[in-house]
Point group: C2
């Protein structure tokens, strides 16, 4: 088994073209990871996810530990086999969902205790148990447990939280069983404060992780604030480690963050939007529920090669969504994940060719055009 | 364009192996038609439906006329193009759903008026409008409008209803635009009364349809009553027309009805069951929600070649259904439709080889075995 590694093959400005090698395969970066919360990228067959170009999916430790349980998944041969995804998997630490979904949670230096949002059962998540659960899931990339506070101007609060995450980073590293092809990522915290971000990054570099994640963004701050944080942080990030911006984001977020040197992303946006009738296209987003699509024989995007665009009209997808047919979310999710992967493909190609600036310009010009004009009513 | 036709290539007892030729392709019979109620076989891509071996799907006139509307589907190029199903499509007349779903319906000699269950809008369905709607949908096989009463011992009531359906059959035939490759089926009514069934069949033969459907069964009567009706009716059915038993049924129903000379079936059972956690297998049905499957690494059916059985464990599908993941219905529906098509394949093969009796015996023996034994707990 090859060692877990990251190699850069080209740079264009701050943007990097690279490859992450894991136990279950290679990930071309910059990469977007579709979210497979409970062991499934919602409304998609894993083969379809792979067809979009996705090389890695994300699993949520919080959801999987509660149902069906990490021990059960381990007994069944690990998450890859369980969910029929032979490629790389990254699992988060569970901390973020504990904060947003669980009940009666109690945070201490040791970790966090909480009640399941599913059945009220009591659980504990510490840096050590999180690592252990992710090992049972057989994650190629394991995330340290961290505390992820909401966007805040209270520097003392953010500092205290960041320091706790740093102590948890150390414990996570100590608990991680270093096996060939498996990697552990630390998470930079520090909110919108450049000096705290720098301090966090340096602490993680001392501990030495396989990759560096950037947490605590996309939690309510405006996009320019997020980009400023990235610009302040990047000079303090190691060049030879993959950089993963957690929970981000819109297509515009991805383009801006890649330009600033980020290599990996995950977000529920393409999948969740697909279940609410929203489609991402080169020319911006489309709410397919809108009545203007009811008679439109054209595809969501005539340039898109996904099955939803190749074989179906806006009128049909509009009908499916209005009629609450399962095929609606199936087609829209497929399209959205395809769109995100297509965007990453173009970003990688442009970095490799040294034409990222032109691509970014075209990307924004396309968005400015807005969606295609409605057809004239025939009668 | 070839004419609509039905040809028998082999017989085994009363069972017939044949082919129906339509404007959009050939259907090998006996055939099971998956139900695509609102222009989609729920939770499946049309390509997947075809992969199971299905050659024809059914569309519901009632649902489609209300949403998205027959005129709209016609403007968009017909139902085949709309739903991306290039093969043959049969549409029902809408009558059955008017009775079971609509509000404030009023029946007269002319037809039936009703309010949509979706938005309360008023609509009328007569033999003529039903035929016209099905023409707009571009159905390869059009069904006459009939009245379908519930199972009843009241012979006078059933007689009156059957006579109305016969008058509607005549009007349907007059309204049908005979085009090459397109067929119109009449519907035999008469409840459980052999003489009424005979009278209905003779009336339809006089009118002359492309195929003969059998309605008013699978409406609450026991299976042996249904089989008795089929046995009483078959001597009065024309040999050279396909016979379609509407809304039937369980795998046992299909095997029994094919043995008695039925050629075509439709039923929501495989698709609807797939959305409630029920899987059909050679050894009977499996409720995948049951806790006994939570740790079971085995497929639903080790002999089944569908994606759900090839790539996923019972434990995983159990998890998906418990977690209300869309992939659960997707996999179970695929499996169930595959199972039904596989059963039809075996029936056709057995009729062709003259071994239907042996197959039916094996079919029942397999069912008697019951589902596979639960695994011993490992601890």
């Amino acid at each position: 088994m090859a060692a877990f590694s990251y190699k850069i093959s080209a740079k264009d400005g701050s943007a990097r073209l690279g490859q992450v090698t894991t136990a279950h395969g290679v990930i071309d970066t910059p990469a977007f990871m579709p979210v497979g919360t409970a062991g499934t990228v919602k409304a998609m067959m894993p083969g379809s996810v792979a067809e979009t170009g996705a090389q890695i999916v994300l699993g949520n430790t919080y959801h999987l530990m509660l149902r069906p349980g990490a021990d059960r998944i381990e007994r069944l041969g690990g998450l890859h086999k369980f969910m029929n995804w032979p490629g790389p998997i990254l699992t988060d630490s569970g901390g973020f969902q504990v904060m947003s979904l669980s009940k009666l949670r109690k945070m201490t230096e040791d970790g966090v205790t909480f009640q399941s949002h599913i059945d009220g059962s009591k659980h504990e998540l510490t840096p050590e148990t999180s690592i252990d659960i992710q090992r049972k899931l057989d994650a190629d990339i394991t995330m340290q447990l961290d505390e992820c506070p909401a966007h805040s101007d209270d520097k003392k609060l953010i500092d205290t939280s960041m320091q706790l995450s740093l102590r948890w980073a150390e414990r996570s590293k100590a608990a991680f069983d270093d096996r060939a092809g498996y990697g552990l990522f630390g998470i930079v915290q520090g909110g919108v404060f450049d000096d705290l971000r720098e301090q966090s990054a340096k602490g993680l570099i001392d501990i030495d992780f396989h990759g560096m994640a950037i947490g605590g963004l996309a939690v309510g701050e405006p996009q320019d604030v997020m980009f400023n944080v990235l610009e302040g942080l990047m000079p303090h990030m190691p060049e030879d480690k993959p950089r993963y911006l957690m929970g981000v984001g819109t297509p515009e977020d991805l383009v801006g963050a890649v330009s600033r040197g980020v290599d990996m992303f995950d977000c529920v946006m393409p999948t969740r939007s697909g279940r609410t009738g929203k489609a991402f296209t080169r020319r911006g987003s489309v709410n397919i529920r809108n009545a203007r699509h009811a008679d439109d024989p054209r595809p969501l995007d005539e340039h898109c090669k996904c099955p939803a665009c190749k074989d179906y009209s806006r009128a049909y997808i509009h009908h499916l969504v209005k009629a609450q047919e399962i095929l609606g979310p199936m087609l829209l999710t497929w399209h959205n994940v395809h769109y995100y992967q297509d965007l990453m493909w173009w970003l990688r190609k442009s970095i490799g060719e040294g034409t990222l600036e032109e691509f970014v310009q075209r990307f924004h010009d396309d968005k400015l055009q807005g969606d295609i004009e409605p057809l004239l009513k025939e009668k």
